[in-house]
Symmetry: C2
Subunit: 191 residues, 2 copies
DNA sequence: ACTGAAGCGGAGCAGATGCTCCGGTAGGGT
DNA sequence: ACCCTACCGGAGCATCTGCTCCGCTTCAGT
């Protein structure tokens, strides 16, 4: 019959490769040597390229896991208090970025208008709807200024992500605080 | 006599190398091939390495020019209206970044706490005093919130620099607007 | 057990990139 | 006009990195 029945070692190695790639992305961003990925996964290079047509494909697959769990945890953290939810979402996202520098890099590569890479775009779509919801809720609660879009918030997040990898947490939290104050309805100055 | 008297062709070639490097940094950031620099300068690789011990040294020298002229033009644009000066400084800096993606990258590499590279740090010091002045003036005028430091503003600039290279000007100007609103004394929420 | 096809490992290829070396060239003081 | 020396150019070296190739291994259906 047509029962391809994936071999057990193949499945195991595929998982190891994804874990290794995700770990390395977390530690050092998306600029990694394929040899290092395969070494960390405990497999050979041939195995890597049997499972993924290209290095980029592997990184995309690994990132998708990362983004999915980010979206899940962020959704679970919602309390219903709109403003609080929005600001903790941003703070948590930046914390996450501090711990794994590749995260918002990947998100940035998926911004509309960026060249190509549909897989990265798919990563972004794991989180984008959540941002839209948080923004809408905060706006309807009258706490977020009404002329701010979800894309503005996305961009703000990506921007802050750059400094989150570079300066200590106390420093970027100050800037986040300022940015949040700028997002408040009470601070609005005509665009 | 002790008249080293730099040869004319040497001086000319050194200038060409600096121009070529600055141009390429502007167009594509700091990740450039030495072969391309020397080709654009119309000289050979040997010439490049006669004048600069390393690629980094050449880039540092080229960036110093760029930063100097940035600082000069920004200082010349001051009007005395504190808030206006601060916000146009930020807008102009981001415009500059849009035109030459390597700019704030270099500035970012010179942030305190970053690893090494004294030359890059020297680049930052071309602009840092100006930021300090602008921040002090705006604060004394009572328009900038009092709990914000010049380093906060630097970080904000670097952060916004990331998106300035990636989305159209209308998009990053919106985010800048929000950030500026957050900097206003009237928007301040306790840190 | 048996067997054959899917899977595995890592040497090696091709191209990119920072830098060096050295035979030849040309500036500029005499 | 001459010559010495600083200077020039670019072939070539060493290294890195994404990817392929192919002989050997191991799973899983019988």
């Amino acid at each position: 019959m047509t029962s391809p029945a994936i071999r057990s070692d193949a499945a195991r190695n595929r998982g190891r490769l994804l874990d290794a790639a995700a770990g390395l992305i977390a530690e050092r961003g998306s600029d990694i040597d394929v040899r290092e990925i395969s070494r960390r996964a405990g497999v050979g290079m041939g195995t890597l390229y049997r499972h993924f047509p290209t290095k980029e494909a592997l990184l995309d697959a690994a990132l998708e896991h990362v983004f999915t769990s980010w979206a899940e945890q962020a959704a679970a953290a919602r309390t219903g208090e709109a403003w609080r939810d929005l600001s903790t979402f941003l703070g948590d996202a930046l914390s996450r970025q501090t711990a794994s520098p590749g995260l918002l890099d990947a998100y940035c590569q998926a911004l509309p208008g960026q060249a190509g890479n549909t897989a990265r775009r798919h990563c972004r779509q794991q989180v984008a709807p959540l941002i839209t919801e948080l923004v809408q809720a905060a706006r309807q609660a009258g706490e977020l200024r009404s002329d701010v879009t979800d894309e503005d918030v996305s961009l703000l997040l990506v921007a802050l992500g750059r400094i989150a990898t570079v300066v200590p947490e106390t420093a970027w939290r100050r800037v986040l605080h300022v940015a949040l104050d700028g997002l408040r309805a009470t601070a609005a100055t005509p665009m």
